[in-house]
Structure formats: structure tokens, C-alpha cells
């Protein structure tokens, strides 16, 4: 336990935190865009999984990681298209459509995966490596935590201010937030609510897909059934806990990842506590934390409510 406070271990805990945050941040920012547009996409898990799967296929097929990144983004956008069709066009309950998407993707990816490998040894690929930022990565303590990460990790952290700017400083953001709060306000100005919902969901899902893609390309080297293992749900939780704001979501994701990383290191260090308790720690703490905080909810007013004109 006392080892926990050694510098090397603290560095490791924090570096692991930042690494684990990357896919969550991409997906959470994507889901933030989607939800701010009033569409509650419960299919984050499925969208991430599809992103990861497509990235896997693309990476093993073409051998190019960047093509695989594009493929994940594209797959995410495609999932978004399906989801937008279900929710914005058909007005199916968002929650239900999202869970359906998860099921569909879980089955399809596994089916395609098994058809793809078909008995042969599972193809693997060489995943993204850390990029040490010159000079910065040599800073003691902070260097290895912040400046020796995968390239996409930096992109993921940049995505937070970018999404903030998009939401609050661009005209698209104003329309986007309006979609979530009161789509009728756009409708009565003669603007197509449906088209904007499609755009928002597809853009958001593309980012979500990228999150899954990074999980595959940056943190793994092969695909397995239900590869994302519940990370999509963590994203949904982070969004609610982060009160639908970029900074809040960033904090929620960070808190979860730190707890997770801490629990992991505690187990590895041989803390004499049942392993299950350590594994449960991030989940337990999330609930306890949420019990303590109360804020004015910024949940978009029409989140999850299919829009109908009359």
C-alpha cells in the first residue's frame, strides 16, 4: 500500500488513466453532440463496437492504421445514419432503438468476425505506439504522464475544447443546442429539424465510432466477442454525471478512469482486499459520488423525445 505513493507508481496510475480515457473521451464527446441535439443514443456500446470491429478488419486487411481510423469513423457515421433514421424519421423510442442497435452490432460483428477468421489463426496488426513529444516528454513526473501517449490521445483531449467551441461559439452549435432544448423553435423558422438531427447524430456517432476504433488500434491488437466490454455504458454514465457539459463530462470520465486505474494498481500491488472489491470500486464510487452532488440539471429539455410537429 505504501508503495502506492512512490513516484513511479503515481506516474503509472496517471499515465494509465490518460490512456484509458482516450476512447471514452472520443465517444463521450460524440455522444455529447448527439444528446445535445436531443437524440438519446443508447447505442454507444454498439457504435463503439462497430467502430472497433471495422478498424480491426481494416487494419488487418490493409495494414494501414490510419485507413483503419477512417474506417472506424465511417462505421460510426453509418451507425449514426441508421440510428437517425430510426429516431428522427421513424420516431422510434430513442432508448429502445439504442438498445436494439447494441444487440444488432454485437451479433453482426461476431458473425462477421467468425466468418472472417474462419478457422485460421486470428490475424493481428501492429497497433499505435506512444509518441514522445520532444522535450516535453522529458519533464520529470508530468512528461511521462502527459507527453508520452498515443497521437490520438492528444486528439481526444483536444476534442473537448473543440466540442465546447462548436457548441457554444459556432452557429451550428446554437442550432444543435436548440434541437435538444426545443426543436420546434427551429421548425417554425422553416429549418428542417430532421436534417439537422441526422447531421448531429452522424457526426456524434462518427466520433463515438472513433472511440471504439482507438480502443482497438491503440489499446489492443485483436478482436474478441463484445470487444468494448461495457465501455459504451460508462460513456452514457459519464454524460449524465457530467451534466451534459464538455467540462463536466471530461471530469466524469477522468474520475472514472482514475478510480479504475487506481483499483488496478492496488490489485497488482497485492493489496490484501478481495479483488472483487477493487474491481467494483469505480462503479461503487460513481454511485456514491452522484449521491453527494446536486446541480441544476442541464439535461436538454427535449432529450429523447421524438419530435413531432403538432
Amino acid at each position: 500500500m505504501s508503495q502506492l505513493f512512490q513516484e513511479a507508481i503515481i506516474v503509472s496510475i496517471l499515465a494509465a488513466t490518460i490512456r484509458a480515457m482516450t476512447p471514452l473521451l472520443f465517444s463521450a464527446m460524440g455522444e455529447l453532440i448527439t444528446q445535445r441535439a436531443g437524440i438519446w443514443n443508447m447505442g454507444v456500446e454498439g457504435t463503439m463496437l462497430m467502430g472497433a470491429f471495422t478498424a480491426y478488419i481494416a487494419a488487418t486487411w490493409t495494414g494501414s492504421l490510419w485507413l483503419a481510423v477512417l474506417a472506424a469513423i465511417f462505421a460510426g457515421a453509418l451507425m449514426g445514419l441508421i440510428f437517425a433514421f430510426m429516431t428522427a424519421t421513424l420516431r422510434v423510442d430513442h432508448f429502445i432503438a439504442g438498445l436494439g442497435l447494441n444487440l444488432l452490432v454485437s451479433g453482426l460483428t461476431l458473425y462477421w468476425f467468425q466468418s472472417y477468421v474462419q478457422g485460421r489463426a486470428q490475424p493481428k496488426f501492429a497497433s499505435f505506439q506512444d509518441i514522445a513529444v520532444p522535450f516535453l516528454s522529458d519533464i520529470p513526473f508530468l512528461g511521462p504522464i502527459l507527453f508520452s501517449q498515443r497521437l490520438l490521445t492528444y486528439v481526444a483531449f483536444l476534442a473537448v475544447p473543440t466540442v465546447w467551441f462548436l457548441l457554444y461559439r459556432s452557429r451550428y452549435g446554437l442550432e444543435l443546442r436548440c434541437l435538444g432544448e426545443n426543436p420546434k423553435a427551429l421548425d417554425v423558422k422553416g429549418l428542417s429539424v430532421t436534417a439537422r438531427q441526422f447531421a448531429a447524430v452522424m457526426a456524434g456517432s462518427a466520433m463515438t465510432g472513433l472511440g471504439g476504433g482507438f480502443l482497438m488500434l491503440g489499446l489492443s491488437d485483436r478482436f474478441v466477442a463484445d470487444f468494448t466490454a461495457g465501455r459504451g455504458w460508462i460513456v452514457v454514465v459519464a454524460l449524465i454525471a457530467g451534466n451534459w457539459k464538455p467540462k463536466g463530462v471530461l471530469i466524469a470520465v477522468t474520475a472514472f478512469a482514475i478510480l479504475d486505474s487506481l483499483a488496478m494498481h492496488l490489485q497488482v500491488l497485492g493489496t490484501p482486499v478481495p479483488r472483487q472489491l477493487l474491481l467494483a470500486l469505480p462503479y461503487l464510487a460513481s454511485v456514491v459520488l452522484l449521491m453527494g452532488v446536486r446541480f441544476r440539471s442541464s439535461q436538454p429539455g427535449q432529450l429523447g423525445v421524438p419530435y413531432k410537429r403538432s
Partner: protein, 324 residues
Amino acid sequence: IAIGPGLARATEPDKLRIAVILSAGLESGWDATLIQALERVKAKKPHGLEITWKNTDPLWGDDAGDAMRVFAESGQYDIIWAHSSYSDQVKKLKDEFPDILFVVAGSGNEGLGGNQYWVYKRTYEPAYLLGTIAGKMTKSNKLGAVGPFPSDDINDEINAFFDGAKAVNPKIERSVAFIESWYDPAKAAAYTSAQVATGADLIFQLMDTFKPCEEAKIVCFGALQDQHSLSPSTVLSSAMALWDPDVNHIIDAWWAHKAEGKPYAGNTDKHWFAMKDGGAAMAPYGELESKLPQDVRGDVEALKAKIMAGSFEVPLDVSDPKAH
């Protein structure tokens, strides 16, 4: 055509059809090694048998039971090989199909005897050997092991790995991580990285995840199959499971029943083939061989020879491995 004992000869089979119910899929070492062993045995045509088999994708629990029933009722199969802990399901079937030989594999089963055979697999002996290598090569005197869930036939190899290390290097510290999941490569990688970060410089990797070892440029050991090809630059050797003697043993038992009319006599206790019987082995060193000091290699060879000769018995410890 002979008579008398020839009667038995007359029904002497020339074909053996096996149904295999997998547990984790062909991507996993557990299932892949069995199929590889079947291939090898098939090529040798024991008792002149032409062996064919059909395998399902992973099935669990009652689905596996249903599949066994379908196989059994089809009358197309002589042996139903359920490659995981399925004795609960076999229990419901074995008396109904007394002629079929049921096989269950590994920990979590119950020895039912009769026409259920329980094959056990322990790779703790090669794991011990790997441990002695690790114990000598480590600079930090800290070794790591990453596994899915603790259990009898996981604990044995992890403990043996550390015991082997300890035997050559008393200063060894151990770090154990169970990720509580069968497949989550990203999680396994995170745990492995954490072990590396907390000082482990050699990892016994039971989750097939070598990326963190590559990043940290450290040596890893694989489990169940030779995993050198997965990560040539990090995997020095693996503790391999070989099912050939088990397959042969089962085929013999079936033959004895079928051709010689002996009753099935499945084991009720765990039984496994040791390294000296060909049930486990240490994988050849890969391209990392050159990194291995000559004296270490010599010591390992000597110890291996002792194990094979039976003059050294690797201690079996199935207690929950704890880090310390």
C-alpha cells in the same frame, strides 16, 4: 472371416467420429491446442481408425447440454468431447446413451465415472521451468502474472511459475492480476502495463496480450500454446498444453469398450498427463534465444531432464496466488 473372438473382431470399428463442443473458440489456446492434437493423432491412425470430428462454436452451460443431446441423438458420434466444465450436462445424458463416451475437460467438472471421462490439464511443470528462467533473468526481482479468474488449473501454473523463480532467486516478489473476464484484451493490456509500471520486468501472460510487453521491451511468457508467433520480439517461451496423450488415452478407452467389449471406466478423480508423459511442454525459445545466458539455458535443460526422468517433482500448489 473368423469366429469366436473374431466376433468381436467382426464389429471392430474402422471409423471413429468425435463431436467436439468448444468453450472459447478456435482463437483461444485452450480450444486450438485440442484441435491441433486431434490433427496429429488422426494422422497416426491409432488402431487403424479413421478419425473424423466436427466442432461447434463456443457453447456454454445448457446450450452445450442441448448440443450434446443433439449429437447423441443423431447417432452419428462415438465420442462427445465437451472441452470445458460440462459434467452437469453430461450427468443428464450419460446413462441415456451408455454407448457414447463423454469427455469433459478441465477444472470445474465432477468425476462421474462410467462413460464420462474427465481429462485434466496441468501445465505447471513447464510454467515452473519458465519461472526458473524468469528468476534468473529478472533485474527488478519482481515478476508478474496476468490471468482471467483464479481456479485450480490456473493457479497451479501461476504458483509454479513463481515457485520456479523463487527456487533460483529467493528475492523474487510476485505480482498477480486477475481481470475477471475471459476476453478483454484492452483490460488485460492495462493490467499488464500496471505490473510493468510497478516494477515487474518479466510477465507470465495467460491472456494472450503482449502489446504492453512490446512497448516496455520486456520479456514475456505465453500460456497454453506456443505464442512466439504472436509477438516474436517479446515471447521467449510458453507453457504449452499438449492433448495428444489425452486423446490417445480416450481413444484407447473407447476402443477397449467397442472392440474388446470392456465396460467404460471413466475416472472420478482429476487425472492429467505430466510433462514426462507428453501432456505439457515448454515451447522452444524463439528469436529471443540469444538473450538467454548460456548458463541459464544449461540449468533449464538440466532441470527439464530431471523432470522428464522423474527425479525431480515440481511442487503442485493450487492455492489462490497472492501477490507478495
